[in-house]
């Protein structure tokens, strides 16, 4: 099972509160290692809340825990996760002369980790 989806890293309240405790603490590492996925996509791919999936692209790969979001909240084919070390593994360093690497909306292959 491998499928290409669009990853949207961003801020979340839990990420914001946990980083105050410390970026090396378990809570922050846990919050930034979770990815939200459309529930219909999860069902189609045989995934359940708490399953581990590997996200990968030409830049790198990371293993995260998936949780379902209603189809009305997160479109099919889109993933959301809080910014953090795991999402950085997938970020290309090319800034196209702007200083800004593309940090949202990049394609990743997803694969269930068994």
């Amino acid at each position: 099972m491998t499928e290409i989806m669009i990853l949207v890293p961003g801020r979340s309240s839990k990420q914001g509160t946990s980083l105050n405790k410390g970026k090396l603490k378990d809570e922050y590492l846990d919050v930034t290692s979770r990815v939200e996925m459309n529930m219909d996509d999860m069902q189609r791919l045989g995934l359940e809340n708490g399953d581990k999936i590997r996200l990968s692209n030409d830049t790198g790969e990371t293993v995260v825990t998936c949780s379902g979001k209603k189809a009305t909240d997160l479109p099919s084919g889109m993933l959301f996760m809080a910014y953090g070390p795991p999402s950085s593994q997938l970020m290309d360093s090319d800034t196209a002369g702007s200083g800004m690497p593309l940090s949202k909306h990049f394609s990743v292959a997803i694969e269930k980790v068994t």
Binding site: I6, V8, G10, R11, S12, S13, G16, T17, S18, N20, K21, G22, K23, L24, T59, G60, T72, D73, L74, P75, M78, F80, Y83, G84, P85, S87, S88, Q89, M91, D92, S93, T95, A96, G97, S98, G99, M100, P101, L102, S103, K104, H105
Partner: protein, 460 residues
Amino acid sequence: MSETAKENIKIVKHATCTFCGCVCDDMELTVDMDAHKITKAKNACVLGRAWFAEHVIEDRPAAMVDGKEVSIEEAVEEAAQTLVKARFPITYGLSDTTCEAQRQAVAITDIIHGTVDTTTSVCHGPSGLAFQGVGESTMTLGEVKNRADFIIYWGGNPAEAHPRHFTRYSVTPKGMFTPNGKKDRTVVLVDVRKTSTAPVADIVIRVKPGKDFELLWALRALVKGKKVADNIEAITGVSMDTLTDLVERMKNCRYGVFFFGMGLTMTRGRHFNSGALLALATDLNEFTHFVAKPVRGHGNVTGADNVVSWQTGYPFGVNFNLGYPRFNPGEFTTVDTLSRGDADAALIIASDPASNFPKAAIEHLHKIPVITLDTKETHTSKLAHVAFTTATYGINTGGTVYRMDDVPITLRPAFDSPFPTDEEILTAIRKRAHELMLAKSGLGAAGGGGTQKVAAPRKE
């Protein structure tokens, strides 16, 4: 300062939260002076409460070299020597410290002929480029509170990133010309997904990922009375009816505001996206009053833009190799200088690029001597050659920060820290680096090593 002392409890009124760019200055802090801890932060949001509760006195050395505890003076000497020896030293971070510390960091970079950049380059740097290309129809948040009746959040989720933005400035507060608060305002949200900001909005528009520019350009055309291609919905995911309704509302409001986030700057198009939105705001001033403002993340990232601008003439990505400032994003911005392997030493202040930069940049950080100033241990401080633990701005130190609308606010600290401030450490590094550079150029003596005095750690 409104402070009252009662036994070991201190109340600090009108304190400022420096967690995010809202910089709310109506905090009432209850401080346990024995435990050196803020036990209550009245008026704070969920992020502010965590900010105040979790910034306690850390149990770690004030200064370390290669993981071993040293005196602050020894660490300052090592930091200055490292920076002066480097051929392409970079200074980065700065968005979570005071303006007073930021100006010292710029001065150091000037002295060592280095490159100074801030977290703006990976945040609203593209908006900074767009300001230069398009201009900015701007305002203060006080104006928004008192006058704005039409608010558009585009590519941002303030419900999670700036929770008090709605209640202090943009949605619910009752202002001079908005006496009924929320009832006097229409709120629109444009985003690729339904975020927790959606319940606040009267109109939610979902744009296809990577199609913000196309949507903004279509709106510009409609505002100017031009025809838009029939397949605009297929391209952007937004129907023509929705677009024409939005245009009518924008043209007919009394005072409209765009608040835009990193959904525009971090995606394909970058500064073109921000520029399209700023141009749309300008276009709308043919019909009504319309303004635009980036919603800024870190507590003093706006101050970093201001300080670097007033000291060098440019907002970020500034290089002093030739002895005068040059601005070139893509060449002198930190992701680029690290990923290409240009930088051979890094001074990182109040930032954690080893956590959130692209992989190639993080790998290069592991190869070069890094100097960090931070309040807590981070991924970057763990790999640092020289690591300083510093006091937390706004909690342990005074100083100045800029709110996201470029309004400067003075900080009221709650309790002392045994650690030095960023400003104290950077001032000491600046003085020692200056001596070393003079000696290097034959204009002065280097002096004995480790002689820069830093204010002694405070006794509790």
